[in-house]
């Protein structure tokens, strides 16, 4: 029996010829990533484990993105602990605000993520890296400390669900609409502990930015990871960017899948996920009655330069609605620089939007745009859970950058074609 991409990557890193779903294995990890919000706990646990040193300081990446620029004294202490840990163990891949951005967009952009690698990250959206044919999995702080100490961790080999996207995408439809639609089809626990392999003729035509968006939200279906086989688009993205040699991995023709799902996307229209689950979708055009207090454009889901190009092409020359505020936060320093160079920063600022430094922004409701009681936000991020972005009575609607731009202009949820 053949193997899927995920099975092959796990087997290779465990030193085995083959693995099958439900096998429990120890696999070596190529890169282990964590952020300012998850690292301090790991440092404490690492000490308790009695570890004298990290297994491989070159594979450890520490990124300030959730709480920076430090929002209060407690956050500043968290950042300091991570900085001191990096210094103590000679970890060069430590990144300050102003020299990084959101981990899940920064690491691929800088070429640290390559096809065939096995990555662990102490953040649930680590699955984003799957867009490059990488097996990347989110973990907690104790698993992170264990991986620092051992250079490996245990894995249950997941079953794989294959999702084939077919058809021809409509004008306003992008990666975000595709993944929201997928979540509505399979549900928020529809891929619990499984890998999702995204494929089909639609994937072949998608940009890397859209592929990152899709893999980013695989975890919202409970998946262990989302993964896409490398192709010409992947190779072009990696050219001059990849920091090391790599061997792309592909599923065998006779690989075994838990389930194969064919989704035709030809009739897909811009979608919005309504509170409190990312799987509860409605057509953007059917939500025109929902007034929005805050539009957040950014996050590890939709903070790329392609996303800001799509957003700014709609908002160009227009103004943000007087009763709505717009917060734009590019995912990385490079995205911000490109926005300035391409005139996108000016477009957003002239429209009356606030432009923040590259970070996670208000997505987790602790910094840079927290919501008051009963406020409604439309966000390009990935979760619309109760209280996620602020007060428990506030509400979050999720959409693509195009819908976010139209919504910012109208002050209510809006299909992009209404404002063009």
């Amino acid at each position: 029996m053949g193997m899927t991409i995920s099975e092959k990557i796990l087997a290779y890193h465990a030193g085995k010829d083959s693995v099958k779903p439900d096998d429990m294995i120890f696999s070596k990890v190529d890169l282990v990533m964590s952020t300012d919000i998850t690292t301090p706990l790991s440092i404490e646990i690492f000490k308790k484990m009695g570890a004298k040193n990290v297994f491989n300081r070159k594979n450890i990446f520490l990124i300030n993105d959730h709480l920076v620029p430090a929002k209060d004294i407690a956050s500043a202490e968290f950042c300091r602990q991570m900085r001191e840990f990096a210094h103590k163990y000679g970890i060069n891949h430590y990144f300050e605000v102003g020299r990084s951005g959101i981990c899940h967009r920064f690491l691929p952009e800088q070429g640290f993520v390559v096809p065939g690698d096995l990555i662990l990250g102490a953040d649930s959206h680590t699955c984003t890296y799957g867009a490059l044919g990488t097996f990347a999995v989110g973990i907690g702080s104790t698993d992170l400390a264990a991986t620092w100490a051992l250079g490996e961790n245990w894995f249950r080999v997941p079953e794989t669900i294959k999702i084939n996207f077919q058809g021809k995408l409509g004008k306003w439809v992008c990666g975000k609409d595709i993944i929201l639609y997928t979540l509505s089809e399979i549900g928020v626990s529809g891929a619990l502990n499984q890998a999702i392999e995204f494929s089909g003729n639609v994937i072949t035509q998608l940009s890397m930015a859209d592929r990152f968006t899709i893999c980013n939200m695989a975890v919202e279906a409970g998946a262990k990871t989302g993964i896409i086989a490398p192709d010409g688009t992947t190779m072009k993205y990696l050219e001059g960017r990849a920091q090391k040699d790599f061997t792309p991995v592909y599923s065998d023709d006779n690989a075994s899948y838990f389930r194969v799902l064919n989704l035709n996307l030809s009739k897909l229209e811009p979608l919005v996920a309504i509170p409190p689950l990312p799987s509860r979708i409605k057509l953007a055009r059917d939500l025109a009655h929902v007034k929005i207090d805050q539009v957040f454009m950014g996050s590890c889901t939709n903070g790329s330069i392609d996303d800001f190009r799509a957003f700014c092409s709609i908002i160009k020359g227009k103004k943000v609605h007087p009763e709505t505020r717009l917060i734009g936060i590019p995912a990385t320093q490079e995205v911000l620089k490109a926005m300035i160079k391409e005139g996108l920063a000016e477009i957003l600022l002239n429209a009356g939007g606030a432009l923040g430094p590259p970070t996670c922004g208000p997505c987790i409701g602790s910094h840079m745009g927290v919501l008051a009681a009963n406020e409604k936000a439309l966000s390009t991020s990935n979760r619309n859970f109760v209280g996620r972005m602020g007060h428990p009575t506030s509400e979050i609607y999720l959409s693509s950058p195009a819908v976010a731009a139209a919504t910012a202009i109208r002050g209510r949820i809006c299909h992009p074609e209404e404002v063009i």
Binding site: G138, G140, G365, F385, R388
Partner: protein, 166 residues
């Protein structure tokens, strides 16, 4: 592992980590401190409702969402004895095992147990007893690696021993 006995406090499906412990309280690594806000956005009276040793019952996909270990830490800090759910989100599952918060997977327990039922659990036998209703439910048995981590009280001791062997 010791036997577990306590009253059931029950919630539904897809209880996410933002509900278990909102991110605004997560700039903190102290279990007791975190426990003061446990389930705050789901049920403001949660801490008043529970007693030491109570058993948290939930439906599918418990602990979905973020990777924050603060979620099982808050539950442990609130002195609940364990979580019984139809299914667990995978990161929460690992985090709970890693920090030594007992968890049990049983759809049938979730469907039958009601708020306030007196529950007794025998981890070695994968057995959940409902003393109020005089019923028994089976919980899923875990693979050997996970049982080994549980038997050592969590991942800290597991790694500590592994490092000594290197």
């Amino acid at each position: 592992m010791l036997e577990i006995r306590g009253h059931a406090i029950k919630y539904g499906h897809n209880i996410n980590t933002d509900l278990i412990i909102p991110a605004r309280y997560c700039i903190n690594i102290d279990e007791e401190e975190l426990s003061r806000h446990c389930m705050e956005d789901l049920d403001v009276d949660f801490l008043e409702k529970i007693e030491i040793g109570d058993v948290l019952i939930a439906g599918e996909n418990f602990g979905c969402g973020s990777s924050r270990e603060a979620a099982p830490m808050a539950i442990k800090g609130a002195k609940l004895s364990c979580v019984v759910a139809s299914s667990f989100a995978r990161i929460f599952f690992r985090n709970a095992i890693n920090i030594g918060l007992p968890i049990f997977e049983s759809k049938e327990a979730y469907e039958s147990i009601e708020n306030g039922d007196l529950i007794e659990i025998f981890p070695e036998n994968n057995l959940i007893k409902n003393l109020t209703k005089k019923e028994e439910y089976k919980s899923t048995s875990f693979p050997p690696i996970i049982r080994e981590v549980i038997s050592k009280g969590g991942m800290v001791n597991f790694v500590r021993e592994k490092l000594k062997q290197l």
